[in-house]
Symmetry: C2
Subunit: 189 residues, 2 copies
């Protein structure tokens, strides 16, 4: 729970009373490897703060291939923000890559916080904004890189992540086949 509070405090000030309120709303949740924090087709009704583990966001394209869009690790908020805001079914799965622990805030809890804490919306906005900017900055350069560069850069920027992720997921994140990734890894050594 402390992790969540520290995380929030990076984006705006909260007094002790407000912190207590947030903590009173947070609920612990655990899921096992391969289980889903959220499934495609469902309307997201909660936001999760990941305290332990790694998840991936994935979906199936029109050819039926499973595509890993993104990885998220410890101390980050997890939600399909599009679907959450608009209360529409999510188009993606959020799946645990390792056993995971969360602090969960329900939509009702978040509404309460939004009503009670003046700068709550502002904090959430800043968090979402920052996450989106990071996402763009990660993905955008990849388009102009070849597969070897993409793998190299991923490995350089997220060395700890790279070793905790099955290569099949990493391959689809990098936009290549698993065999290509395997060959690339061989050539780099």
């Amino acid at each position: 729970m402390k992790e969540l509070i520290n995380y929030l405090l990076q984006f705006g000030h909260l007094n002790q009373q407000q912190i207590d309120l947030v903590e009173s709303k947070g609920v612990f949740k655990e899921i096992k490897k391969d289980e889903y924090f959220q499934e495609a087709g469902r309307i997201p009704r909660e936001i999760g703060f990941l305290t332990e583990g790694i998840v991936r966001i994935c979906y199936y394209n029109n050819k039926g291939d499973e595509i890993t869009k993104y990885f998220i690790d410890e101390n980050n908020l997890i939600v399909d923000i599009n679907s959450y805001n608009q209360s529409i079914p999510s188009s993606a799965y959020i799946q645990a890559i390792t056993d995971c622990k969360f602090v969960v805030l329900s939509k009702e809890a978040l509404n309460d916080l939004s009503m009670t804490i003046l700068i709550w919306d502002d904090i959430i906005n800043k968090i979402v904004n920052k996450a989106l900017v990071e996402k763009v900055n990660k993905i955008s350069p990849m388009l102009s890189e070849d597969a070897t560069e993409r793998y190299r850069n991923f490995f350089t920027k997220f060395p700890t992540l790279a070793n905790r992720i099955p290569l099949s997921y990493l391959a689809s994140y990098l936009g290549i086949t698993q065999s290509s990734l395997s060959r690339i890894r061989k050539n780099i050594r």
Copy 2:
């Protein structure tokens, strides 16, 4: 100027007095094809609302290749939001692909508006958020598509854009060489 106001009103309500204030701050600006609205290395000091024309965001990667990151057309806000917020030099150029007309709001003007209009920051936040989400949704699927699909989808989704953009820019946006794009176009016909 009306276009800007209509655009803003999509994201929150403004009364007539507030609208007048915004209009009083807006300055018209024109640049010719190939000129820059903003150059890499400079700290952005204004936000532009594009009323006529198309611009591209581009930069040079470490190999010296010119990369087109993004296209923006009429009725959209234009700014390197990272650099603007943090007042750090921008890493990208914003270049006119056609002759362009803008309404420009300076940083000072924006600060005034932020102080005077209570929901101004909220409106800007929503705009930035929406733009970022759109950007992610455009770019992210491209990673798992081959070049032909990327071109086809771009053409389907932005048919008017596609015909106003030099193919060399489009190629680097799609992450392929111009000759590849040319061959793809031939095969599609």
